[in-house]
């Protein structure tokens, strides 16, 4: 059977997120417990988490999380990492063995910073340098796969039910101000850990529920800008689109939402002439980045989180608030599990982004 990346595997899913605007630490165990309530939305073929603010001691270094199929792959890839980066720390990612999670690859973590001379030679900015290196490993180094490469954040994912994946990675030993989670229901057996979600690029991580119908239109467009979609998953292409719009095109989060879940023309026409002109401009220039078909996504980034539904709201998504805490989930039960007494709870409309940021923290994207 073909591995993920060789064929396109549709899947349904569960997602959840929690964010502390005051930046206070949330234990990773909380989001794992939230996912247990949505067990039925996954089928044990993929689960994962992303945590932000989890590596304060190395907060200025890029944390590479890497899967290796075997030791040969590892030594090959490490040569490349060593060549491109200064490695400040490396170790296996600590795991808790469990019969529910099997066939694990070698899972390593590196805290790195680009070699300054290499970076200067490349004439790229630091982030672009990182992206190119990661894409290179993932496309050229067979048996190696970088699944997380941001600063002060990390992705943890595996084949299994989300709660077992959380247990496996010992997430109750991590603390961060922001967490997202994903449980997967693919219609096919990928059997490959890289195919699980979240998918991430630098500090952007995406968890996504849905199956987009615009996939190939999006993929063929974004690949013009140096991205290479190797997994053929929606999440991968959405991550690249967001990276492109926020980092390359320097759009705000709201503008990004207006591209990927663009308002309908008749909605645009009801806006003020100035606003309408801007919406029209974005829809025209980035027409190939409109995403159609059902999706609900949680985008995690340094200092914030954005929730977004497709423009018809074909996938469920609920948001709850309590003080400085904001909760997101496919189903209300997951929010109630994290906070039984939320102050308010609502279901955002299709195409309307819900954006939360650290109070006084980095105001990203604007």
């Amino acid at each position: 059977m073909k591995k993920e990346g060789e064929i396109r595997i549709p899947s349904g899913c569960a997602i959840a997120g929690v964010f502390a605007k005051d930046g206070k630490n949330i234990n990773g165990g909380l989001i794992v417990r939230a996912m247990t309530t949505m067990h039925e939305r996954s089928n044990g073929l993929g689960g994962g988490f992303a945590g932000y603010g989890i590596y304060p001691q190395y907060k200025d270094l890029y944390a590479l999380h890497v899967f290796y199929d075997n030791m040969t792959a590892r030594s090959e890839c490490e040569k490349f990492i060593d060549e491109m980066f200064e490695i400040v720390n490396l170790s296996k990612i600590p795991i808790r063995k469990s019969p529910k999670i099997t066939d694990e690859p070698l899972i390593w973590r590196y805290f790195v910073t680009p070699h300054q001379n290499k970076l200067a030679d490349s004439q790229l900015d630091e982030k672009e340098y990182m992206v190119r290196c990661v894409i290179r490993i993932n496309t050229k180094y067979t048996g190696s796969y970088v699944f997380s490469c941001g600063k002060n954040m990390g992705v943890f994912k595996a084949v299994g039910y989300p709660e077992d994946v959380g247990e496996f990675y010992r997430l109750d030993e991590y603390e961060g101000y922001s967490w997202t989670a994903h449980g997967r229901y693919p219609t096919n057996t990928p059997g490959w850990w890289g195919g699980a979600h979240p998918f991430s690029m630098l500090d952007y991580s995406i968890v996504h529920n849905g199956e987009i119908s615009s996939y190939d239109a999006n993929r063929r467009f974004i690949e013009m800008f140096g991205y290479k979609c190797t997994l053929l998953t929606d999440t991968e292409v959405i991550t690249y689109i967001i990276d492109f719009l926020l980092r390359h095109e320097k759009l705000t989060l709201e503008e990004t939402a207006a591209v990927i879940a663009a308002p309908f023309w008749d909605t645009i026409e009801r806006k003020t002439p100035d606003e309408a002109a801007r919406y029209k401009y974005l829809r025209n220039v980035f027409s190939s980045l409109l995403i159609t078909g059902p999706f609900s996504i949680l985008l995690g980034f340094e200092g914030g989180m954005m929730a977004l539904n497709d423009r018809l709201k074909l996938r469920s998504m609920v948001v709850g608030e309590k003080g400085d805490m904001t909760y997101f989930a496919s189903e209300e039960c997951a929010i109630r599990m994290m906070e039984p007494n939320v102050d308010n709870l609502w279901s955002p409309r299709g195409g309307e982004p819900v954006i939360v940021r650290l109070n006084g923290g980095v105001n990203h994207g604007n």
Binding site: G12, K250, W265, S287
Partner: protein, 501 residues
């Protein structure tokens, strides 16, 4: 000479028991097939003049007429077919190039018919276009991805000039001269009504139609007929015609008999003179010359109008398109070898050029590989026959399609393929006033609107089935297509998988 005798291609079958000798057929036939025999008191026919345009058949009040293919044959020969033999006789007699009209009728693969479209099941909902919004608006033009902002941080919204279409279908170039005033009026009014564009072709723009200018694409071809400042300014966009799918590499020839009154004034040439467009533009012998013409036209119109470069689909089309994309053109129109024409040398029409499906697929792919797909929009033409062809063309990578033969069919054309004679019984490819008035522009316009509306409904149904609610998500979405019964090589050029994969 007896050896030149060609047995008529069709038989006119008249059921004398039904015929009431009303002589409608006689009056309707510009080819003078029918006549009344006073002695016999019967209608008779000279089938040697019949072109099988169905005008008489359609208007006979008693359904007394039908036209059938003559069963008369040469001795069967798979190599020397009837056409092959007769064409030799005709050329041996005339010493001339054979002329034909409309698109290539030969047995070449129609790739559209070997491509199937996807639909959602279970994992992804289909969308009902009757209940949910379904958008088909398209913009054609350059789309630079370099955002600039004003001092308040707001995005500046100025863009190079764009054409805005309510649905991704435009009427392709057909000149006033090759088709009639009423045909042009029908096309122009339908384009206005449907929020799209029609195209003047190379014959200039009749003053009466300046009022439809906002929905008109004005063409500049190698003969430069009818090109002047006012003309350029009337149009919403300017199309440089480098080639045409039906006759790549050669120019055009409108016989003097069609250059009457208004046609001559519009083309700015004397009445009765042949209008000959040279094969190349004599100021464009290479790509850098094209760039100069593109920029001359932009200068002349103050950079307010997109420039379209229309080329025939030929072998090296991907590289050519890439050159055009870098020449400053805003839109490339590619015309496949099955595209129609008012007159073309038969040999050229039937043997030169390549199918639009393959040309479109390779151009779209090449422009993406070079990272310049956003520099230009692509219009595909050269036999788009129905809404399914439109959907497939867009999924292969076109921004929009051109239709012309389909539009003429809506106006009554019966594809008799004798437009070059100027005696079109349906009032389309003719300048004879008695024939032109047979095409009522009110009805013609209504029928074109009906056609596009019907296609629009069907396109929305296809999109809804795929779970796509805006046409931009269909563009280049080749995953929505599968091939059947085609070779690996063909599928790899089309960039689609085989059904079942």
């Amino acid at each position: 000479m007896a050896i030149d005798f060609l047995y008529p291609e069709f038989e006119v079958v008249r059921d004398q028991s039904r015929c009431i000798a009303c002589r409608v057929c006689e009056r309707q036939c510009a080819n003078e097939v029918h006549s009344y025999d006073e002695d016999l008191k019967l209608m008779v026919s000279d089938e040697s003049r019949c072109v099988n345009c169905h005008r008489c058949v359609s208007l006979c009040p008693t359904r007394a007429l039908k036209i059938i293919k003559s069963p008369h044959t040469f001795r069967e020969n798979a190599n020397w077919t009837q056409d092959a033999i007769q064409e030799v006789y005709r050329q041996a007699n005339s010493g001339a190039v054979l002329l034909s009209s409309m698109g290539n009728p030969k047995q070449f693969p129609v790739y559209w018919d070997k491509i199937l479209i996807n639909a959602s099941q279970v994992t992804n909902p289909s969308i009902d276009p009757l209940r949910e919004p379904m958008e088909t608006r398209v913009f054609l033009g350059k789309k630079p991805t370099n955002i600039t902002r004003d001092q308040n941080g707001k995005i500046k919204t100025d863009l190079p000039p764009q054409l805005e279409l309510e649905l991704p279908i435009l009427f392709s170039a057909m000149s006033y001269g090759s088709i009639s005033y009423n045909a042009h009026e029908s096309l122009a009014r339908a384009a206005v009504e449907m929020g799209t564009y029609y195209n003047t072709g190379e014959g200039g723009l009749h003053k009466d139609f300046y009022k439809y200018g906002a929905h008109t694409i004005v063409q500049v071809a190698s003969g430069r007929f009818g090109v002047h400042k006012d003309y350029l300014e009337q149009g919403a966009a300017i199309e440089i015609k480098m080639g045409q799918g039906a006759k790549p590499g050669i120019g055009g020839h409108l016989p003097g008999t069609k250059i009457t009154g208004d046609v001559s004034a519009t083309r700015m040439i004397p009445e009765g003179t042949d209008a000959i467009s040279p094969a190349p533009h004599h100021d464009i012998y290479s790509i850098e010359d094209l760039r100069q013409l593109v920029y001359s036209l932009k200068e002349a119109t103050e950079y307010k109008k997109p420039i379209i470069v229309k080329v025939a689909a030929v072998h090296n089309i991907a590289a050519i398109a890439s050159g055009i994309a870098r020449s400053g053109a805003d839109i490339i129109a590619i015309d496949g070898f099955r595209g129609g024409t008012g007159a073309a040398p038969t040999r050229i029409r039937d043997n030169v050029g390549i199918p639009i499906e393959l040309a479109l697929a390779s151009v779209d792919q090449r422009l993406r590989e070079e990272g310049i797909r956003n520099e230009v929009s692509l219009i595909a033409g050269g036999s788009i026959r129905n809404s399914a062809d439109v959907v497939k063309a867009i999924a292969l990578g076109a921004d929009a399609v051109y239709i012309a033969t389909g539009a003429l069919l809506a106006l009554g054309c019966h594809l008799c393929r004798t437009c070059q004679t100027g005696k079109c019984n349906w009032g389309i490819a003719t300048q004879r006033p008695d024939l032109v008035k047979r095409l009522n522009p009110d009805i013609g316009c209504r029928r074109l609107i009906n056609l596009l509306t019907a296609w629009e409904h069907e396109i929305k149904e296809f999109m809804g089935g795929m779970g796509i609610n805006s046409i931009e998500s269909l563009k280049g979405n080749r995953l929505m297509l599968r091939g059947v019964g085609k070779k690996k090589k063909e599928l790899s050029i089309l960039g689609i998988a085989h059904a079942g994969e």
